[in-house]
Amino acid sequence: MKKATSNIKNPLPLSSRLIAWTNRGFVHFTLLILGLVWLTPSLGLLITSLRSRADIAQSGWWMSIFEWNFNIQNYVEVLNNSDLPPPGFKENFINSIIITVPSTIIPIFFAALTAYAIVFTKLRIRNFLYLLIIALMVVPLQVTWFPVLGMYKAFDITGSWFGIWIAHSAYGSCFAVFLLRNFFIGIPEEIIESAKLDCNNHFQIFTRIVLPLSLPAIASLAIFQFVWVWNDIMNAVVFLQNPEKYPLTVGVQRLLSHYQNEWHLLAAGAWLTMLVPLIIFFALQRYFIRGVTAGAVKG
């Protein structure tokens, strides 16, 4: 709207200038309120996580400005907590990493191969496959859980790391193919044609030409899939069924059902799960936003 206000440069009667001024004040005010509404919930929990149990019981977090008594004791306590049946929060954290890393790499590798075949080969079913993937992206995962568990029982992989990796790989691959296919389509045909002179097969073209060219897209995708798996709770609950392998999200949910109103622990626990995604968000904001916007349809 910068251009829209440019006509105010000409000297205008005082009344119009007053209206413009109030309008702008109103805009700033609206944005301030919305910003506060969006910031306050997580900020309140962050402040709470740094206050002692006694302080929390005595006054709301907004009063802590006057007391200024913060420490990280709650984080230490929640990490070393022994009230709950094992695993502790530390193990949850390690589990989250064990679950997330392979669940990010596997689907992206397979999806890149598939997207390559859809875009750069004359495969007869390539349009059908792409449309199938578009349709499957919308299918709610809840509908598939029980039959997949039946299959896991037959192969005896319920509660294994392999089981959760492959489930996340499958559920993530639709969106991964979708995103990479849309990126590959922008690679000029001539590059591939000339690559065919130097490379013996498609796999060489894929690894030497297409992959290096699509690093930005793969970065966005990897960040999106990583955060998605890291934040997932339902697939972990359904497919792991083993507290020792539960990730951080389930850890927080266990805290919640065990402690109800022990806000000093709940706040610290919740912030520990948010740590990794938030670091990724602020460090790689551009890639992250691109991935999330492209991934709007997934879930």
């Binding site: 709207m1 829209a4 805009v27 944005l31 919305l34 910003g35 969006w38 919930p41 997580s42 309140g44 929990l45 709301g60 907004w62 191969l113 598939t114 390559y116 075949a117 859809i118 080969t121 004359k122 495969l123 792409y130 578009i134 499957l136 919308v138 299918v139 809840q142 509908v143 598939t144 859980w145 029980f146 039959p147 997949v148 299959m151 489930a167 499958a170 559920y171 097969n201 498609h202 894929f206 955060v227 609950v237 359904v238 999200t249 949910q253 919640l256 806000w263 919740a270 799960t273 948010m274 995604p277 938030l278 990724i280 968000f281 904001q285 936003i289 999330v292 916007t293 709007a296 349809v297």
Partner: protein, 299 residues
């Protein structure tokens, strides 16, 4: 040479195809099949039940659909409320912020604040909002604010009242997803052709007229996209409900996506849960067809 290339393409798509078949296509069909049976975990097809589950869901299950008493309630009604409010509120908030913040000095700053909730897990968001909604005005920020503004105000247990809880969960979802709407609408807004808007200014159109008659119609494509995405999110909703309320109080926050999980995994009624899944599939079918039509246009 040619045949070798094609052979390679099939290998490229094979892993993804297997994953899609095993985790999405086949399980979805099995769920539909199981919905015609009574069964349990060990044997989902104990006894053929025809359309019995569907009959019970639509006429005899107060947790799913209750229309003989005003106001109507149940998971289906709650989901419809989600479908109405989630797209509307995210698009309105997203549009307001995208348009008002455009060109301001603090544009990047406020956009980061609005977008950050997209990075955190539904689990963390649930803890955050259980804290905000806490009925003790010394803890819960919302009650504290209302008590501060209206001294007569009686603190409300937002997640404890059947009439209120569904909206309370929906607002948490709005908090999460407005960032997505804002980002997409802001990108579209910045890409609008400036000449047309300038021409309107020269013709003497006021800011309101420009917004309603020019900007809004030109943003109809991203808005439609967002509405579709948010409807999908509403239909698939499970994790916020799972962590924040477990469907309570008295079924007040049950949605279809959550009912499937409860009936199957908590109550062990595989056939019944599958029938809810099949109803959910019927609800997403129009969206799938719409997406396919949109994609076919671009092929």
């Amino acid at each position: 040479m040619r045949s070798k290339f094609n052979w390679e393409a099939w290998v490229f798509i094979l892993p993804t195809c297997l994953l899609l078949l095993a985790f999405l296509v086949w399980p979805t069909m099995q769920t539909i099949y199981y919905s015609f049976f009574k069964g349990n975990f060990l044997d989902p097809t104990v006894e053929f039940f025809g359309l019995g589950h569907y009959d019970r869901l639509l006429t005899g299950d107060r947790q799913f659909l209750r229309i003989n008493k005003w106001p109507p309630s149940g998971a289906l009604i709650n989901t419809i409320v989600w479908i109405i409010f989630l797209p509307t509120l995210t698009v309105i908030f997203g549009l307001v912020i995208a348009v008002l913040a455009d060109g301001k000095k603090y544009e990047t700053f406020i956009k980061s604040i609005i977008f950050v909730p997209m990075a955190i897990s539904a689990t963390a968001a649930s803890v955050i909002f259980r804290f905000v909604y806490n009925n003790d005005p010394e803890t819960g920020a919302l009650n504290a604010l209302l008590v501060f503004l209206l001294p007569e105000f009686e603190p409300v247990s937002w997640l404890g009242r059947k009439t209120m809880a569904n909206f309370a969960v929906i607002f948490a979802a709005v908090w999460i997803w407005t960032g997505l709407a804002m980002t997409i609408l802001s990108a579209a807004y910045k890409a609008l052709p400036q000449e047309i808007i300038e021409a309107a200014i020269i013709d003497g159109a006021t800011q309101w007229q420009r917004f309603w008659r020019l900007v809004l119609p030109m943003l109809s494509i991203p808005i439609t996209f967002l509405v579709v995405v948010m409807i999908i999110n509403a239909l698939k909703m499970i994790d916020l409900v799972y962590v924040m309320t477990m469907g309570g109080p008295r079924g007040g926050t049950r949605v279809i996506g959550f009912s499937i999980y409860v009936e199957m995994f908590a109550n062990g009624k595989i056939g019944y849960g599958s029938a809810i899944g099949a109803i959910l599939l019927i609800l997403v079918l129009p969206i799938i067809l719409y997406q396919l039509r949109q994609t076919k246009k671009q092929l």
